[in-house]
Subunit: 344 residues, 4 copies
């Protein structure tokens, strides 16, 4: 059994890691940390776990690392750099924060407004978009788990850019997210009455996931690009739907896009290209690690629309983190991730 | 007092017409029709009206037209052509269906798949986008009330196209709608459990409001264009948020777009251009006839993002219908439409 | 015009007072206070008012009372006693907090855990359940507006207890409330993801509205009683549905209950007894000052079930406050309160 | 492997059976029926199963029973009597409809308004409230799976009645249900816009689950009783919360109730009595077979309040059906049912 600790277990991604790992045949949960809630039984912050035997919450600095093999770090952005740097070297890590996602200290500082504190560690970190970076992930000690929006945006676009089928300068990603993406800290704008029965865009043109998406797509395209990306907050708990507008290169048709996606994701357990005429719903991946991708002709001949659906807490966070752990440990990639969506 | 009849009063737009007209100082409700429910008290189909004294529902062919001055026709698409053709000539009409929105019989047939039955009437119909067609509306006998999506899409774009500030060939409109837009007829896909806690796109590249949007924008641009338009169904009762991606013409900046919108809508009671840094929420126009428009710089210098918010049942249907009635009758345009949004 | 100030205008009840008063023909809004937000335009805390010309938010102690005739006090429980005591004597007040609802300082201290600071003022305050205390309200300077739950619980029961038709010792009130009842202060338990798609009871056997309900019902029954009252929080923004279980006195039938309610509320604009076979929905009073009451036979012959529906922000708070203002000022009682429910 | 068929697989309980059984180590899904959808791939009615290899939907009469060991019958109430009667005798059955729940043909006819067609089969059927009827279930060929409301109502009350701790004549069960309980057939009252943002009671004093609850509780009490039971429909997909009001027998205290429940359910995997001061939420059992029960003192000394939470689709339907299958087959009772709740 792999001895696992979850740092920052009192947030939504922490609880989701636990829900999924409890169904994983090779994992034993050894430690759960939460600074503010240290000393409490876990069920006091998430009562759905009351019928299980789990370690109490503790502070990170009281953790006995000798019994830990693997760490999921689900701490707030900007706080994980010193914590990961201080981990004993035998421990492998998937970090769910944004701290190690951008590849250079310069890029990090430009987006997050502070110098990166651990540039050496950053250099060794591997970006954990599982289906794209599987080889590097398998050898990494530190995997930077992708952001929720970047996961749903990059998976449909990388194969198309890699094969030079679409114009890299006209990419538009319009994403709609559930409220778990904003975390569990109480804020007026996240109250039930402020989120229900309505929708709004936020971070328009400025959201920090924009540069993260650029980084991955630029690599695929072989040159720098900047997507147009707009996130929206809507009344659902889980899920991101991304509607993606692309312009095809001369001579390219929708069929070529389909072929590129299908051949790239053939045999993948979690990425599925839907048949013609189908469109994905976030409900159909709720609670699962699946990403659904559909392709649609536009009324304008050289243009196409793609739609991707994921669960932001699973493939967009904790599920992909476990998928990455499976890759790192040489386990079957689907372990702990075989559930069907809970719909309705 | 203006003697008003509502045809098709048992649907959501019918109930919304009634809710608003009951607050209108110059209107008396004289007749309400609903074929299937004829003979019932109105409160049997919409109990919220139980404390009011309203005419019972009746069949259209039992209606005594001698006491009616004005008709709102809230019947299903495709059914209103013979009904409006049969109305006595003294009656003025706002039709909320799609039957008279496209200007030529050819365009109608191309989109709705059947020949138009009343081409002469179609020729006289005026498209009722109030702020744009006010002059023609004031003289019309038959006003074709715009679709919900086209209202929120055209108002932000027409001034920009009219001033040639943006590229007419790269317009993308990504719209998110509440479920009232789909009507009250029972369908599996509209059940609570199928709509709540999720989102999906539908009619991708094929929705009938695409050509309606094209028609208005082409007129503003002075040449034919085809927008890229994707509607989404999401768990809210009312509201449409449209996120609109535009490419600015060389030399044009965001400030020019703002100036064009502000000068075009200066003094308008229902169209509001938000200040820099603000973004609209559908919640803030819930139950009102207002449209909120915001402008945002993109990370790409020559591009911009606009967002519009409306209530699909009010400015997107019944409210604009009443605004058009006010224009047609020479009333103050805001009569019956002065309520503030019900939020939360 | 009556010159009105709203103290505590940045909460949900403050915004709802404003929404309704803006539709009131005899009221001019002269001042809006909010300590934390002083100096801001009101639309910065509630953007739906952006298109209106309203006074900026200010601190209470900067308010010029010479131009104010009437005050709505929408401040947190426990904070209003010194504030109301300091108001100039020419100002009449409706207080929406709980501070003046319980009639004796002893009762207040027993429930709220602190001595009442203004016992003299408490003695003069009138409990503002409009339909029951209309006469006293009309002469009061200070009206204590009832709690949301007590309004929906007392209106159906007072007439039955007053006529001695039901057993005063077996009353059960099971209430389901929307989330606006919990206010706008950010708390983990009120986040969208914590409230949506589920329900729970809270304050079981201990909620502070229990004694408030007891007070009114005891008065009607002519002796002390203690109801069994359980509130629940559920995913809706507005509304309280109360399901009420009563045991009829020997010889009493459902018809007697109906007669007592119908005769008591005959001619009332806002309290409606539904016909046999009908049951109220909170949706049908959303945004209105109406209370709907239904009566149902139980399978046990001597027992009956009543259901009441109200909007907790309107009849349960701001609407009833305006109704009380109308009574105090000698206005027509329905002024500003004639809207039909916004459904869907 | 146990070869399983699901009859009526196109409804919500059918899909939930499948979701759970796919996670069951001893079950192979061999056939799925749905009369209207026969011939379609299952993913066409529930797209969340698209990535799995499942039998196509077929008509019941085309099913080859030779390869089937066990049947879940998830057909509409009133339709299953001839179908189950026609099953080959080697097949064991859990019927999720109401057809075999009431123990006598007389009781069935009184409640369902038609004579029972298979009285002999009815006599052999065992009521499948797993924790209460485990012994009989283990030997049964036909188990009648309990209704969703009766499950959450009976589990807390049976131990208290069996020990004569509470008054059998004053039981009140106020239940709040999610919309999956109403099924997937399109009806106006189940549309998103009719269910969201509100609540209402239905079947007040007449719901068919009342007599089913009576039957189980009467057996526990040792004499006939009639509960007062009110169901409510509210905007959540899954879950039932039941608030239960009891009067304690003289000399009995809350502690005695707790002791009775804890000793009765000690060691049970799915029934949990919460600690003092805790109250259950439906969210915390979402997607699981757990029932949470809490006890609360009332302000009236001889009275108490209990709250139970369950997922109506799991412990209230498909989960308990699988639990019963496990009991019937001698499997470990928790097989396929070990998931933690999906919250948020």
């Amino acid at each position: 059994m792999l001895n696992v600790a979850i740092l920052g277990a009192s947030g939504y991604t922490g609880a989701e890691l636990l829900r999924l790992l409890l169904n994983h045949p090779k994992v034993a949960i050894r430690a759960l940390t939460a600074e503010r809630h240290a000393g409490k039984p876990y069920a006091q912050v998430f009562p759905q776990f009351a019928m299980l035997d789990l370690p109490d919450l503790q502070k990170i600095d009281t953790l006995d690392w000798s019994g830990i093999d693997f760490v999921f770090c689900a701490l707030p952005h900007g706080t994980t750099q010193p914590i990961i740097a201080a981990l004993p070297s035998h421990v492998r890590v998937v970090d769910l924060s944004a701290d190690f996602r951008l590849e250079t200290p310069e890029a990090y500082e430009a987006v997050y407004g502070a110098p990166h504190e651990q540039p050496a560690l950053l250099k060794d970190a591997v970006y954990g978009l599982s289906e794209i970076e599987r080889e590097a992930i398998s050898k990494a000690r530190l995997v930077a788990n992708p952001g929720c929006y970047p996961t749903g945006a990059q998976l449909p676009l990388i194969p198309l850019l890699a094969k030079d089928l679409i114009d890299a300068d006209s990419l538009i990603i319009d994403s709609k997210s559930g409220a778990t993406g904003a975390g569990r800290s109480p804020k007026e704008g996240l109250l039930f009455c402020e989120v229900s029965d309505g929708i709004h865009a936020y971070g328009i043109g400025t959201h920090r996931h924009g540069p993260e998406i650029d980084q991955g797509l630029s690599k695929a395209a072989g040159r720098d690009l900047r997507v147009r990306f707009t996130p929206h907050l809507m009344p659902m708990s889980r899920g991101i739907l991304s509607t993606i507008y692309v312009t095809m290169k001369p001579g390219v048709g929708l069929h070529d896009l389909r072929q590129a996606l299908e051949s790239r994701y053939e045999g993948e357990a979690f990425v599925h290209v839907l048949a013609d005429g189908q469109a994905p719903q976030t409900r159909h991946v709720r609670g699962t690690n699946h990403v659904l991708i559909s392709l649609h002709p536009d009324r304008n001949a050289n243009q196409a629309i793609l739609v991707s659906a994921e669960d932001n807490l699973v493939k967009g966070a904790s599920g992909q983190a476990i998928q990455n752990m499976n890759i790192m440990m040489g386990y079957q990639e689907t372990l702990g991730l075989t559930l069907t969506a809970q719909f309705p």
